[in-house]
């Protein structure tokens, strides 16, 4: 067990290290660097000024040195300076995390309270009309681009309510914030709710076919008890894992949704930093996302091990 944990942690560190090399190299393959962009924004192309800026930012140094400086700083908790704002990258990134985290949390909340019950209903009523309907709805959830869904919501609310549910001012108070974030969260959450629903359904179906459910039934437990107590409890395990993984993968949905709803979160910031070649921001954000994914995967495995006695990890 201890050895397994050590191995897992080492693998995580290895993965993150690999990611750091990968992202660092990939960013430097991008045509045009920040010096080009800064000079370009002024509508000029003076090679002397460009070289000066590049030197100022340390871009003229060997790529290996640049990498060492970044990774060395990262280990010490120093994320370097954002190129565009010229402020510490940490100060630029940190304030944007809570809002994205809230949005993701809310989206996840929606997707669970929608996905799990509907998945159960769908499984229990397998091949009924409602099952078909729910399956179509869930598939459509996987098919609609979340940014388009967001746009439709925007258009509808303007058309029918004469209001725009976008983020223009900092919300006043908790209720205000929840209301403001609910709509984009629903747009993001719809997709994950579809995933969760499908998974709940299939894992429910699997469990319902198992022997012990038949036993419970033959012992005279009522249909409802069987469905909701015995089966659901066992079916939820894989669902919990997908919820965990979705939490990290919501970032993808957040990127476009934050753009549509004008939310100053960390996901949209990533896109802008990429467009501006603001390496310190992009690198650190990518590492943050990778870190979340890796840790969540780890936690999910741990949860699995704790919850499912059948799984044992060889030392």
């Amino acid at each position: 067990m201890g050895a397994y944990l050590t191995r897992r942690v080492l693998l995580m560190v290895l993965t993150l290290f690999g990611m750091s090399v990968l992202i660092f190299v990939m960013l430097r393959l991008v045509p045009g660097n920040i010096a080009d962009i800064l000079v370009d924004s002024a509508g000029i192309a003076d090679p002397k000024e460009k070289a000066k800026i590049a030197a100022e930012l340390g871009l003229d140094r060997p790529i290996f040195d640049q990498y060492l400086q970044w990774i060395g700083g990262l280990v010490r908790g120093d994320l370097g300076f954002a190129y565009v704002s010229e402020r510490p990258a940490l100060e630029e990134i940190a304030p944007r995390i809570p809002i994205s985290a809230k949005l993701a949390g809310l989206a996840l909340f929606f997707s669970v309270i929608l996905g799990v019950p509907l998945g159960v209903i769908s499984a229990v009523r397998q091949n009924s009309a409602i099952d078909y309907l729910l399956r179509i709805v869930s598939l459509s959830g996987l098919s609609l681009p979340s940014f388009w869904l967001g746009l439709l919501i925007l258009m509808a609310s303007v058309q029918w309510f004469g209001m725009i549910p976008i983020y223009t001012n900092e919300p006043r108070g908790f209720i205000d914030e929840v209301l403001l974030l609910s709509i984009p969260a629903a747009a993001v959450g719809f997709r994950s709710s579809a995933l969760i629903m499908r998974l709940t359904r299939s894992s429910m179906l699997e469990v319902l076919r198992q022997d012990y459910i038949r036993t419970a039934r033959s012992k005279g437990a009522s249909q409802t008890t069987v469905n909701y107590v015995h089966a659901l409890r066992n079916a939820l395990l894989p669902v919990v894992t997908i919820i965990g993984i979705e939490a990290a993968f919501l970032v993808g949905g957040l990127i476009v949704t934050e753009t549509v709803f004008n939310i100053p979160g960390v996901a949209r910031f990533l896109v802008e930093a990429i467009l501006w070649r603001d390496y310190p921001i992009v690198q650190n954000l990518v590492m943050l996302i990778a870190f979340c994914v890796v840790v969540v995967n780890f936690l999910v495995d741990m949860a699995y091990m704790a919850l499912d006695p059948r799984i044992k990890y060889a030392d």
Partner: protein, 532 residues
Amino acid sequence: MRNRLAIIAGGLAAAVVISAPAFAQKQGGTLRVSHRDNPPSASIHEEATISVNMPFMSVFNNLVFFDPKEKINSPDKIVPELAESWSWNDNKTKLTFKLRNGVKWHDGKPFSSKDVKCTWDALRGGDDKQEMIRKNPRKVWYKNLKEVTTNGDNEVTFTLEREQPSFLSMLAAGYAPVYPCHVDSRVMRSKPIGTGPFKVAEFKRNEGIKLVRNPDYWKKGRPYLDAIEFKIVPNRSTRVLGFVAGEYDLTFDSDITFPLLKDVKDQKKDAICEARPTNVHTNLLVNRDAPPFDNPKLREALVYSLDRAPFSDILTQGNDLRGATMLPPPAGVWGMTQDELQKLPGFGPDIEKNREIARGLMKELGYGPDKPLKIKVSTRNIAIYRDPAVILIDQLKQIYIEAELEPIDTTIWYNKVQQKNYQVGMNLTGAGLDDPDGVFYENFYSTSDRNYTGYKNPEIDKMIDEQSAMTDVNKRKAMVTKIEQALLKDAARPPITHGVANTCWAPAVKNLVLQHNSIYNGWRLEDVWLDK
């Protein structure tokens, strides 16, 4: 009961109207403005976009300023700002300013002649004095500036190489604020210090810019507003919705295109919208140093191929202005009249005839309907560049040119142009100042940094210098027209149309005067007040 209320209300209204003149301008309030994107930085001297000028001009002062009450910037409408007065020496090569006393920077340090010297030494591109700015897009404006000298704290003299009547105009433009000597350039880019009516309270990427009233402003009783908030909203639809819903009092400059104008007017009946030329014009970049457009005949064919009406019809529902490089009258001070314009190659009203000329040239070069010339039209990958490029490609079919659009990542656009790695480019050129010195030196003079096509023509250089020294306005205007003709003949950035767009505000916003020959000037906002 209702009647009585109505009477009371009427009485109140009457009282307000009667007392209005006495309290015409109200103090206080926050002006809320929508902003289209993240300004690249807050340093006006280092940038060349309205995204910087509109929010940050009110942080600074110039020595002199185009009278903000006038709609047209012109050399005879310049008022003092940090300078109390100015005078020329006899041969018009020394310009001396007497500076205002007791002016303070936002950090409390006193303003003096040293700051003026510092700023223009940096802009002039003095070898060692560049710490104040790291990019200098308008260096060529000060090509003729020999030195800046101080005489005590309150007097500064600009010495010119030769006579240059437009020099004062350049100092009066929005692009000529005075910077503090003692502040690091990094600070100037993120939270700049000025002497202006508003101080920067906050500049947050993706969110907004907040300016607050400078209580120690040297102009007594100004500004009226307590604060100005710019909210960054990259999506135009969203910005317009926000304005219609009353979230903003003022739209971003020129943000309301003509297709949108009707919608705004329908949804917000009391909105005040003003259409005005942006002094930004679309033009073609032609790579004359590489095949196939190293052939002057082919360049000429290109000049004759353009039908400007569809550009104008699609881009601004026919509201764009026809002009050459200089903004045409009435808003433009130096541009050609429509009559003069019609005589330029490719500007004549008979498009078919023009295109016949173009096709003739193409046939001479061996092209034809069965043997079209295949080229790429490169442009910046953003809508305002791409849209006209798509229209151009459609038109080039008429003269046996099959063109393909090559959208260039906006970040490497100038780079690519500068390396001459293109054939034809669609370009936008904005004039920070409606003045031939500003426009010609910046875009066509062989040594300019913003002449990124690398256009080098000694004759044009000579003519530009010549007009620059002319004091007789009419003679100078004639020279300007001559330059325009020569440029067009040489297909140096053939102009297509001059943009016109709307800026809208709520009726509560008072005293806002938009300037009609440059969007980059006139955003001091010290006289604006809110009637709320």
